[in-house]
Every structure is written in structure tokens, then in C-alpha cells.
């Protein structure tokens, strides 16, 4: 390519050319003088003979130019002049677009991290985790993991990790941390390098507690060690055991679970020092998250699954007590599918809505540009008449549209990058290390640029037909008033579309918010009102074995003495709080061999004291609650929920008095049936649950008190804290209302409501500007006519109907269409937001009122202007 040097040579070429032409004219003039002409006359004659020098030079230069680029530059300068001339228009357009593109970039940023690029490690494409196909959960026990690692032929290596909470003491300020306990090969499987120091490796594992090393995450190092590079080699206490800090992970690496970043990594072989017990040797205790690794090159998914399945069969045959038959599925490491599925669907849904916003913005700008092109039709006509090509004029208009869209895109991107940065460091639950993965990257920038260009083209082509049809003669003749036809124009259609889109957004945001409100008031299987929950870490405070029971009784007794407390009960974990509970496999009574392949169902297990049902407000439908008689030596009993009864016994009526078995083979008799409820998440499908007497199960590490009282929560919590601390000053406590405790379970629904609310608001703003633009334009075009009508005695409402009827009609049609679409779209929402149903009079009325308000706001100013039209003034203007 020789155009690159030619750009630099060009100046010299042009100079040569000018000089050459100058000399040419001189030579001619000299010759003419030689023929006897006067000097002055000779120069004039020489110039005439030469022709139009400027044009010649221009044409000669064009030879060297990159024609498209340079005339585009000219277009750009012209467009910039145009934009400067109407700053209001430009600002509106840029602002509208920056909102729309910003919203898209933010949603895309999250989508990017969750769906497109969940883990930012080398070769992430071949990195897979496996989980069981049925449950969509991939927990494995450590011995099973070792078998999978040793026996599989599909993965290059398999890494695994578990999450634990511990206290890290670096000398001054012990802090509670979340740690990944990882296999030694964890970092090597991921293929990442430390930011500082070194990582531990497979070779460091030489049996239990052989690798007392800790690797800090960058953010923990940054916040707790103040970026001290001397930290490497320092010995810290993790749960009172010495561990050596050997390295710091790179800043971008936040563990292998999305949404959940740890503070540090420790080798899992040292688990016994951090978590009590000897779970590394228990094949039935599934402490590990989905093991993951790189698939070997050339190994297909089917081959890998067959390989895993054969190992599964081997495990089932060898360890029938612990391992059942499983089908496996390969998933992206990061989070299990049961969670990822709805999340992806939701983010994809948000992306769709954001896309709709952009489309609405384009429709909006398209009609603005069309209106502007109509106002400029005289200019266009003049240029056409003077011989400009239509192509040239269109390119000019498109350049203007693209400039606006790029400016809007840049502004939107800027805002979105700031938002995404904030979002990625945002921790909605300070105690839970939850974070939203959203750091912007090249993908986001590219997407924003692409969207900007695309939208520029979209609204840029709206006026094209108008220009192509323009007949210069007609336009110039018609004068500035033009005609305001009664036909349905493309602009009306665009506006209807835009309002429909906005109505969709408004509808879905209302559905989400309403669903959220209803889920808090709805039937959860317990009564949130007047209920406090208090989590007590018995084990951390040193209570184990027999002492647990005694402490539990003393705490219950103490809480009961607080004035105003009606009920106090114990539970291992209240529903919807702190994860919602844990699950257990149960078997039918007739099952001889309680092994995994015979499991009748997996159920939630709640270990409760006898007062629980009254304290929690859970209705007992039949049978009895537990009593003091259901103790350790009494026959094992259970209260089950309706779903449990249906699954194991076929119906609720059959269940009472019947038996089922738990994993250890114990037969439990059903003595009562409790109402169904929500346990993990609001939007879960109905789960079976069983309640067992807390005295018939083993001592708990932590227990929750459920306290029912009509008192104000804050002083009640203070009283509870004082009473419990009086029993043991060092008791780790967490006291909150049950509603507050559900923050985590409500998080998805809240996020959904916030996201949709913001999008709905954007949609509303867009419809206001859209309708306003149309109404204002119509009024300004017909101001004279309106003035005359008023002069002839038209009533105010007649004038308004003439001025705004069209805008309002468009609004009505668009809203109706959008409402219907929004109702259809809301089905997707039901996955995220419990009780999100659009068949709700509140939602329907809300949308109608909202759209009416939008119409009112948008047409207020144009209506005022129409009413104040003064015929005399207007006539004088002409």
C-alpha cells in the first residue's frame, strides 16, 4: 500500500503542483509580453488561458486523496456546524442516546461476566466443571474427588475447593474471613500466576495438615495488609493455627465462584485445622463444590461424560452406602446450573429490555431527525436543484446521525463504566463476600461502540425516504408552512412502537415491584410479622456435646423472661434466612437398604423445639406438634409438610401415623402435617420439608432462636442481646427481624425490581420526550391554524383536540399494545420474582395511570402553547 507514505508526501506534492502552475502561468505571460502585450494584460491573458486555477489544483489534488475519507471529513465538519447551530436538539439527542447506550452497556457488562466470560483465566474455553444432571448440583466428597481425579481420562487435571469461614489473626486485628480450601493443584489447573510470592502446588500436599500456607486475594491484601509487600513469609493464625502467607493472587482473580469472592486460599489438606472433624476422609460428606479442569484436547463432551459416568458406576459399586448412580453434565465453573439457569435467563431478559430501550431511543431520535429533515427540506431541495446528488445529501444526513450516536455512545459508555466499576466493588452483604461481577472490559467497549453505530444507522435512515422523494420544485414552491397531512406517517408508527416498548418496560417493572411486595406479604408458611431471629454460634463459643443442650435451654428460658415476648423456640436454621436450611435424603419405610440409589426424595430438615410452630406462625394442619416427651429416648417422630406427604405417602390423608427412614436407617413416625412454605428462595418450586425434634437429633454447632413478640424490634433486640450475653459474654450473636434476615433470599427479587425499575424509568422518560417532541412539533406547525380557530370562536377543548389529539391517540394505541406485550413478557419474571403476575388489577391500573400521567406531562407545555396562540401575532409574522 503506498497511501501511507503518500499522506506524508502529500504536502510536498501539493507544493510542487502549486509552484509548477505558478511557473506555467509566468511562462505564458512572458511569452505574451514577448509578443508585445503589456505586462498587466499578459498576466490576465495567461490566467484566462490557464482556466480556473483553483479548480484545476483541486482536481489535481484529488488524484492523491483517499476520496471517501476526505469527503467524509468534510461531511463531519459540516455536521458539526449543523449540530452547533441547534444545541438543544443536539443535547436532547445525545442525552437520550447516552442513557440508552449506558443502560445497555451496564447490562451487557454484567451479561459479559456471567455468560460470555465467566472466568478470566487462560484457556477458559476448555475449562469445565461437572455436576449431576438431575440435581444440577456438583458437590463431591473429598475421597470421591480423589477417585475422579485419579481415574478420569478426559481432564488434564481436576481441581476442587470448598468454602469455609474462619478467623484470620495477623497479630493486631483478628478478622472473620471467607476462605477457599482448595486442592493443591487449584492454581495450576487454572493456569494463573501470583501477583506476589508464590502459589501452593500439588507437590505441597503431603498428607493431612502438611501445607500450612495461605494465599491472599489481592483485595484482602489491599484492605487488610495495606499493600505491604513484606507480607510474604509472614506467619498468621487461621483459627489459632499458624499458617505462612506465601503469596497474593492477581487483582482480577476473585475465586472460581461468581458472586462469591473469598479473602484467601488455603490447601484443603489442612482443612482439619480450620474446620473441626475429619471430613476429608468421609466419602459421604460432600464438602467440595463442582470439581473442574481443562478437557484434554480432542476429548468431546460425550466422551468426557461417558468417562465420568463409568467412574460414577465404579464408585456406586464400590461404595454403595455413600454413592448412588448419577448422570453427569458438564458446566462452566462458576456456579451450579440450578442457580445459573434462571440468572442467565434474567440477565438475558434484562438485555432484551435494554435493547428495547435503545430501540425506543432510536425510534425517538428517528422521528426527531425526520422532523428536522422536514424542516430542512428547503435546504435539501436547494442543494438538489443546484446539482448535488441525493447520495451526497444522504451521506451528509447519516454523518450527522452517526456523530450524534457516537457522542451519545461515548457519554453512555463513560457513565456505564463508572457504574460498572462501582457495581463490581459493591458488596450488598458486608458479612457475606457477595459481589456482582461486572468489571468492564474490551467486550463492553466494543459493544457500546457497535450499539452506537448501529443506532446511528437506525435513526439515520428514518429520513432517507423523505429525502429521496423530495422534489425540489414542489418543496421550494410550497414554502415553509408545508403540509401537515392527516395520513399515518412513518413517524407516527415509530412513536407508537416507542410508546409500546416503554409500556412494556413500565409494565414489567410494576409487575416486579408488585411481586416483591406481595412476596413479603404472601403466604410463606410462617409469619414474618413480629418475629425476631437470633443466630448463636455455640461451637465458636466453646459449647459442644452435652453442654449444647443445656445452653439451648438456658437461652430459651432467658428469652422467655423478656417482657412482651410471647413465644420462644429453637431451630437449626430458620427458613429463608442464612441459606434457608440444609437438605437430607429420606427413604420409604419399606426400603431395606438406605443407599443413595434408593432415595425417595431429598427434603429440607428442620430441627426444632416443641414451641417452634407457634413461634414461627406455621400452621399445623393435622396431627400434633412435638412435646417435651419427644426426647432422646422416645421413639423418633417427625412433622412433615404437605409436599413431603404427597411425595412419600401419595397424599396428606395417608401420611399421619406412617413411617419413613432417614439416611442412618432410623424410622420416623409422622405425627403431624404442617403447611407448605418457602425455604431457600422465594421463587423456588414447592420443596418437601420435615421437622424433627431438636432433642432427637445430635447437638448443633449453631442454633437460632425464634422469638415472637409484638414489641418494637430495636429495643427487643437490645433486650435479647443483654439477656443472652448475661449467660455468656463471649457468645457470637446475630439478632435481627426475620424480615431483615431474609435479605439474602430476597436479593434476586430486589435486584430484579431495581433493574426493572430503572429501565422502566428510562422508558418513561423516553416516552415523555417522544410524545413531547411530537406534540410540540405539531403545535408549532399548526400554530397559525390554531390561532385562527380560536379567533373564530373555537373552544379551548376543541383547540386542544386539534393540537394534541394525534399525540394522545398515538399514546393510547402504543400503551395498549405495550401493556399486552408486557403481560406476555412478565412470564419470564416469574422465575425471579415470587408472585410476579401481571394478572393483577393493581398492575393493570398502575400502568394505565402511569401512561396517562406520562401523556399529561409530555403534552402540558405544547397544550399551553396551543392555547396561548394569538392569531394577530401569528398573522403579522407571515
Amino acid at each position: 500500500m503506498d497511501w501511507i507514505p503518500s499522506i506524508f508526501r502529500r504536502r510536498a506534492l501539493y507544493d510542487d503542483l502549486s509552484e509548477e502552475i505558478e511557473l506555467h502561468i509566468e511562462e505564458r505571460a512572458e511569452q505574451l509580453r514577448g509578443e508585445g502585450m503589456s505586462a498587466e494584460e499578459a498576466v490576465r491573458q495567461a490566467r484566462r488561458a490557464f482556466g480556473n486555477r483553483t479548480l484545476v489544483e483541486e482536481r489535481a489534488r484529488e488524484v492523491w486523496q483517499w476520496p471517501l475519507l476526505e469527503s467524509m471529513w468534510a461531511d463531519t465538519r459540516f455536521a458539526l456546524r449543523q449540530m452547533r447551530r441547534s444545541p438543544g436538539f443536539t443535547a436532547t439527542a445525545v442525552l437520550t442516546l447516552s442513557f440508552a447506550i449506558g443502560a445497555n452497556a451496564v447490562v451487557f457488562g454484567v451479561l459479559n461476566r456471567i455468560v460470555i466470560r465467566p472466568l478470566d483465566v487462560p484457556g477458559a474455553k476448555s475449562l469445565y466443571a461437572f455436576e449431576t444432571a438431575e440435581s444440577q448440583i456438583g458437590h463431591q466428597s473429598y475421597p470421591d474427588y480423589l477417585d475422579f481425579r485419579a481415574r478420569n481420562r478426559s481432564f488434564e487435571d481436576l481441581a476442587a475447593f470448598s468454602i469455609t469461614q474462619a478467623v484470620l489473626d495477623a497479630g493486631a486485628n483478628p478478622s472473620r474471613i471467607f476462605a477457599y480450601e482448595t486442592s493443591g493443584n487449584y492454581f495450576d489447573v487454572l493456569g494463573i500466576q501470583p501477583y506476589l510470592g508464590r502459589f501452593f502446588h500439588g507437590e505441597d500436599e503431603r498428607g493431612p495438615n502438611s501445607a500450612p500456607y495461605v494465599v491472599l486475594t489481592y483485595s484482602y491484601w489491599h484492605s487488610h495488609f495495606q499493600d505491604d509487600r513484606g507480607v510474604v513469609g509472614r506467619v498468621v493464625q487461621v483459627n489459632k493455627h499458624p499458617f505462612t502467607v506465601i503469596g497474593v493472587a492477581p487483582p482480577a482473580f476473585e475465586g472460581t465462584l461468581l458472586f462469591f469472592s473469598p479473602d484467601c486460599f488455603v490447601p484443603i489438606v489442612n482443612r482439619n485445622q480450620i474446620d473441626q472433624g475429619n471430613q476429608l476422609n468421609e466419602r459421604g460428606t460432600r464438602i467440595l463444590f463442582e470439581p473442574f479442569g481443562h478437557l484434554k484436547p480432542g476429548v468431546t463432551h460425550a466422551q468426557a461424560l461417558a468417562d465420568l459416568s463409568s467412574i460414577g458406576s465404579y464408585l456406586e459399586a464400590t461404595y454403595p452406602k455413600e454413592d448412588g448412580h448419577k448422570n453427569f453434565a458438564l458446566v462452566r465453573p462458576g456456579f451450579p446450573n440450578f442457580f445459573a439457569g434462571p440468572l442467565r435467563a434474567f440477565v438475558a431478559g434484562l438485555m432484551l429490555l435494554a435493547g428495547l430501550i435503545l430501540l425506543a431511543a432510536c425510534a425517538n431520535l428517528g422521528s426527531l431527525f425526520a422532523a428536522k429533515a422536514a424542516d430542512r427540506s428547503r435546504e435539501v431541495a436547494l442543494r438538489l436543484a443546484l446539482g448535488s446528488s441525493r447520495k451526497r445529501i444522504l451521506r451528509q444526513l447519516l454523518t450527522e446521525a452517526l456523530l450524534v450516536s457516537l457522542a451519545g455512545g461515548a457519554a453512555g459508555l463513560l457513565v456505564s463504566v463508572l457504574l460498572l466499576r462501582r457495581l463490581s466493588v459493591w458488596q450488598p452483604f458486608p458479612e457475606l463476600a457477595i459481589h456482582v461481577p461486572a468489571s468492564p472490559d474490551a467486550n463492553v467497549y466494543l459493544a457500546a461502540l457497535g450499539l452506537a453505530l448501529l443506532s446511528g444507522f437506525l435513526f439515520g435512515i428514518v429520513p432517507v425516504r423523505q429525502v429521496l422523494r423530495a422534489n425540489p420544485y414542489e418543496v421550494v414552491k410550497a414554502g415553509p408552512a408545508g403540509r401537515t397531512g392527516g395520513r399515518v406517517t412513518a413517524r407516527d408508527a415509530l412513536l407508537v412502537l416507542q410508546i409500546a416498548i416503554c409500556a412494556v418496560l413500565v409494565t414489567s417493572s410494576m409487575v416486579a415491584v408488585r411481586g416483591l411486595v406481595r412476596s413479603l406479604r404472601g403466604d410463606l408458611g410462617f409469619d414474618l410479622r413480629n418475629a425476631m431471629v437470633a443466630g448463636v454460634e455455640l461451637k465458636m463459643a466453646g459449647y459442644t456435646g452435652e453442654r449444647v443442650e443445656a445452653m439451648e435451654d438456658r437461652m430459651t428460658g432467658a428469652a422467655k423472661t423478656i417482657p412482651g415476648v410471647e413465644q420462644v423456640a429453637l431451630v437449626n436454621n430458620p427458613p429463608l434466612v442464612a441459606g434457608g436450611g440444609w437438605t437430607m435424603n429420606v427413604f420409604k419405610d419399606e426400603t431395606r437398604d438406605p443407599k443413595p440409589s434408593n432415595v425417595a426424595t431429598t427434603t429440607l430438615q428442620y430441627e426444632i423445639s416443641s414451641e417452634y410452630f407457634r413461634a414461627a406462625g406455621t400452621a399445623l394442619l393435622s396431627g400434633r406438634a412435638f412435646t417435651a416427651e419427644d426426647g432422646k429416648d422416645a421413639p423418633p417422630v417427625a412433622v412433615i409438610n404437605q409436599e413431603f406427604a404427597r411425595r412419600i405417602f401419595g397424599s396428606e390423608r395417608n401420611a399421619l401415623g406412617r413411617y419413613f427412614k432417614t439416611e442412618d436407617g432410623t424410622r420416623h413416625q409422622v405425627v403431624g402435617i404442617a403447611e407448605d412454605g418457602k425455604y431457600f428462595f422465594f421463587s423456588e418450586s414447592q420443596q418437601p420439608a420435615m421437622f424433627l425434634p431438636i432433642r432427637q437429633t445430635g447437638p448443633l454447632n449453631s442454633v437460632w432462636l425464634v422469638v415472637r413478640s409484638a414489641r418494637d424490634p430495636a429495643p427487643l433486640a437490645a433486650d435479647m442481646r443483654r439477656k443472652l450475653r448475661a449467660l455468656d459474654a463471649g457468645l457470637p450473636l446475630e439478632i435481627e427481624t426475620w424480615t431483615k434476615g431474609m435479605d439474602f433470599a430476597l436479593f434476586p427479587a430486589r435486584m430484579a425490581a431495581v433493574c426493572l425499575g430503572v429501565l422502566g424509568l428510562l422508558g418513561a422518560v423516553l416516552s415523555i420526550t417522544g410524545i413531547f417532541g411530537m406534540a410540540a412539533y405539531t403545535v408549532s406547525k399548526r400554530l397559525k391554524e390554531l390561532g385562527i380557530r380560536m379567533a373564530l370562536g373555537a373552544q379551548a377543548y376543541e383547540v386542544l383536540r386539534a393540537a394534541l389529539g394525534r399525540a394522545l391517540k398515538v399514546l393510547a394505541i402504543g400503551s395498549a399494545g405495550g401493556l399486552v406485550l408486557g403481560i406476555l413478557a412478565s412470564r419470564v419474571l416469574a422465575h425471579i420474582v415470587f408472585q410476579a403476575t401481571p394478572r393483577d388489577p393493581f398492575v393493570l391500573a398502575g400502568v394505565v395511570v402511569a401512561m396517562l400521567l406520562l401523556g399529561l406531562v409530555a403534552t402540558w407545555i405544547p397544550a399551553q402553547r396551543a392555547l396561548s396562540a394569538d392569531p394577530l401575532m401569528l398573522l403579522r409574522e407571515e
Binding site: 510542487d16 503542483l17 506555467h24 505564458r28 490557464f50 482556466g51 489544483e57 492523491w64
Partner: protein, 118 residues
């Protein structure tokens, strides 16, 4: 490339370039001399506007069919002298032969129109 900006007095696109190449084949020349040469050779039948020569020269320069050099003329003037290149010569041969074919074709058509009348 905009190839449409030929002067109305050009007979057809490329004719001016062909004449320039032909002139330069005989001897190198600067712009002014080229104009003189073409006008004289055509017995002033082709009134080439002097300026229109320069865009054509730039096109030839860009296509590397000619090369230019600043120097001093016989009349002691500073001039930029153009010289035909090897590829310029090749192009000239091609153009002349295609021009002759075209001319022949045109001549045949014109004759065909005349013959029934005669």
C-alpha cells in the same frame, strides 16, 4: 477513483493522458511545453484548456506512468520536467492499439450509415 472529471473538450476519457504520453515518448517536457506541443501537433484543432493538463499529469504520476524532476530548461527557467517510464510506454502501446481498434469500429459504423444513402 473519480474518472469522470474529464474536460468537455476531451474527446473521450483518457484521450488527454494518451496524448501526453505520446508527447513524452518523443521527448521529456515540462507542463507548459506539453501544452504547446499538443496544440501545435493538432494544428490547434484541439483547444486544450491549459489547466486541464495538470490533473491528468498528476494521475499519470500517481500511476507511475511518468516521472517528474525539477531542473533548469534550455531557456534558463526553473521547470519540472516529465519523463515517460517503462510502464508508461507499455500503457501507451496498449492504449494506442485499443484506440485504433475503437476508431476503426467507429469508422465502420459511420460508413455503414452512409452506404445505403449513396
Amino acid at each position: 477513483m473519480p474518472n469522470t472529471n474529464t474536460n468537455p473538450r476531451d474527446l473521450f476519457p483518457g484521450a488527454l493522458e494518451m496524448m501526453i504520453l505520446e508527447s513524452l515518448r518523443r521527448q521529456p517536457a515540462h507542463g507548459y511545453a506539453l501544452v504547446q506541443h499538443i496544440q501545435q501537433r493538432s494544428n490547434n484543432l484541439l483547444q486544450v484548456e491549459e489547466g486541464s493538463l495538470y490533473p491528468a499529469l498528476q494521475r499519470l504520476l500517481k500511476a507511475k506512468l511518468v516521472k517528474a524532476e525539477w531542473g533548469i530548461s534550455a531557456t534558463n527557467r526553473r521547470v519540472r520536467t516529465y519523463q515517460i517510464t517503462a510502464s508508461g510506454l507499455r500503457r501507451l502501446e496498449e492504449q494506442i492499439s485499443s484506440f485504433e481498434q475503437m476508431f476503426e469500429g467507429i469508422a465502420l459504423v459511420l460508413k455503414a450509415r452512409q452506404s445505403p444513402a449513396s
